[in-house]
């Protein structure tokens, strides 16, 4: 059963910045592109660090430690870096000014 959890208010997620949050103990980050909001896992599979502290550019979040890059829309890792596993991708819905995310899954 997909359980929706409130993780942010919609105003907190702004374009060009990662918004770090949590869903039932799992670190996640929210990203905005226009009207769309995406949620992906926020811990780099290479070393344990939050990706949201890294560099956001061209739809990719770059890990602050070793520059592994992940697609903010899908959580998919870009091959050739230090990390070789994807992070989870979460379903997102916006209701009444709040952002909710469902169960995470690998792309």
């Amino acid at each position: 059963m997909n359980e929706w959890v409130r993780v942010a208010s919609v105003d907190e997620v702004v374009e060009g910045e990662a918004f770090a949050s949590e869903r039932k103990g799992e670190a996640i980050a929210l990203y905005r592109e226009g009207d769309d909001i995406y949620a992906i896992g926020d811990v780099c599979p290479h070393e344990t660090v939050r990706l949201s502290e890294g560099w956001l550019e061209n739809g990719l979040i770059e890990c602050p430690l070793h520059q592994s890059c992940f697609e903010i829309r899908t959580g998919k890792v870009i091959e050739g870096g230090a990390a070789y596993e994807d992070v989870a991708c979460y379903e997102v819905k916006v209701e009444g000014g709040s952002v909710y995310v469902g169960e995470g899954r690998r792309p």
Binding site: H46, E62, C63, P64, L65, H66, Q67, S68, G81, Y84
Partner: protein, 416 residues
């Protein structure tokens, strides 16, 4: 005024007698030592770094080229890489575990991370933190990988070089070494048996000469003579190769001779004729796996002595640690398809050699006693005349022809 240990007033020129004399200053002079590293280990040579059976795909082992620590890695596709075990950032040692598996190599100092091919994958805070600091925008990670060495393989053996000019490995080794190396490492997949490691408190050349000196072995290692492994009266070849660079010594195992005592052996007072070995498997060819009745050793300059005593196969790797010190790593190996009996024999016979081997007084003990004495008289000369003055091959143990052949080569390369 205190007198320095290294008396600079000694003339650094080779004795006029040639290679039948070796000047003692070459065993302690730091300038000579530095030149040896540049000329040999970091120059136009192939350095042994390990065996393929020591590293699984996605794994690594530590090794050394000259004094420099290196990593020998094997990527998942099976390819072997050799790179300096030195972070490209500030020079920290990356890895001090002897072997293992790893997804990547991360420096403990600033966490720069490299893949098993030695390429820099990333570094923390490349973009700074909170918008401050970080590397310049034009910092190019692809230019800051680990220093890679050229790699060559022959059978299960792995070699590395800093040189772009050294001949291909097969030419460097030459046909005689290739034949003997292939006999041990190229016919069947290898299996690691184990290691011994010891620090030897002497100049590396004393050890290098020692394994070119069959003369001492009958006398200083009475175990070998007492139990018939070394015979003063058997067939024994001492053959210099590639203008003295490498060499091999081989003897033919003769079970007939083993049961007699030669006149020469009777003259060696350290040999005890009243001793008998209870477990003769240690000193006998129980399984003649090479079907040629041969045993012996060969040196590949400047790093290894490869030795086969019956079923004991071992590579002695000489790792330099300064003018008066080196490390000796003994890698015992066998074959992946060894049966139980042969596995047991290899272990048992490995007791013959190594730092706690049955050889009686061990070479490194003698050399450690010798080094300070040699250092105390850098102006003295060693006498290398056993077996005459020549450098050609001989069929006897009572010769120092291989030492003379080595110094013939050494003088040419070092310009001494």
């Amino acid at each position: 005024m205190p007198q320095s240990k290294q008396d600079k007033n000694i003339e650094r020129s080779w004795p006029k007698e040639g290679v039948i004399r070796v000047p003692a200053w070459i065993y302690s002079d730091p300038d000579i030592y530095a030149r040896e590293l540049e000329t040999f280990h970091y120059g136009d040579t192939w350095n042994y770094v390990g065996l393929d059976c020591e590293i699984e795909p996605g794994g690594y082992k530590r090794s050394w080229v000259g004094e420099r620590p290196v990593l020998v890695t094997r990527t998942e596709d099976g390819e072997i890489h050799v790179m300096e075990n030195r972070c490209a950032h500030r020079g920290a040692m990356l890895c001090w575990k002897n072997s293992g598996k790893a997804k990547d190599i991360t420096c403990p100092y600033h966490h720069w991370a490299y893949n098993l091919g030695g390429d820099l994958m990333g570094l923390p805070f490349l973009r700074g933190a909170g918008g401050k600091g970080g590397m310049p925008r034009d910092f190019d990670k692809s230019k800051h990988g680990l220093t890679k060495l050229r790699v060559a393989r022959r059978g299960g053996s792995i070699w590395a070089t800093y040189s772009d000019d050294v001949p291909p490995l097969d030419d460097y080794l030459g046909p005689e070494i290739l034949e003997r190396l292939d006999r041990l490492v190229s016919r069947r997949p290898l299996r690691l048996v184990g290691y011994s490691r010891q620090i030897v408190d002497s100049n590396w050349k004393l050890y290098w000469e020692n394994s070119r000196d069959p003369y001492h072995a009958t006398l200083m290692h009475p175990f070998l003579s007492t139990f018939g492994i070394l015979r003063t009266d058997g067939d024994y070849d001492s053959v210099p190769l590639q203008e003295g660079r490498h060499e091999y010594t081989f003897s033919r195992y003769n079970p007939e001779l083993r049961n007699s005592t030669s006149e020469a052996s009777r003259q060696i007072k350290s040999i005890r004729s009243d001793l008998e070995m209870r477990d003769k498997e240690v000193v006998n060819s129980v399984v003649d796996e090479f079907q040629d009745g041969m045993m012996g050793a060969f040196q590949v300059f400047p790093t290894i002595l490869v030795q086969q005593y019956f079923n004991c196969l071992v590579i002695r790797h000489i790792i330099l640690k300064g003018p008066g010190k080196h490390e000796l790593t003994w890698t015992y190996f066998g074959y992946a398809d060894d049966d139980e009996q042969v596995r047991e024999l290899r272990l048992k016979q490995s007791n013959l050699v190594g730092p706690a081997g049955f050889v009686s007084l061990e070479d490194s003990e003698m050399l450690a006693l010798m080094q300070p004495v040699v250092e105390s008289r850098p102006d003295a000369e060693q006498v290398i005349e056993m077996g005459g003055h020549g450098t050609e091959a001989q069929s006897t143990m009572m010769t120092e022809n291989l030492i003379r052949a080595f110094y013939d080569f050494y003088r040419r390369e070092m310009g001494l």
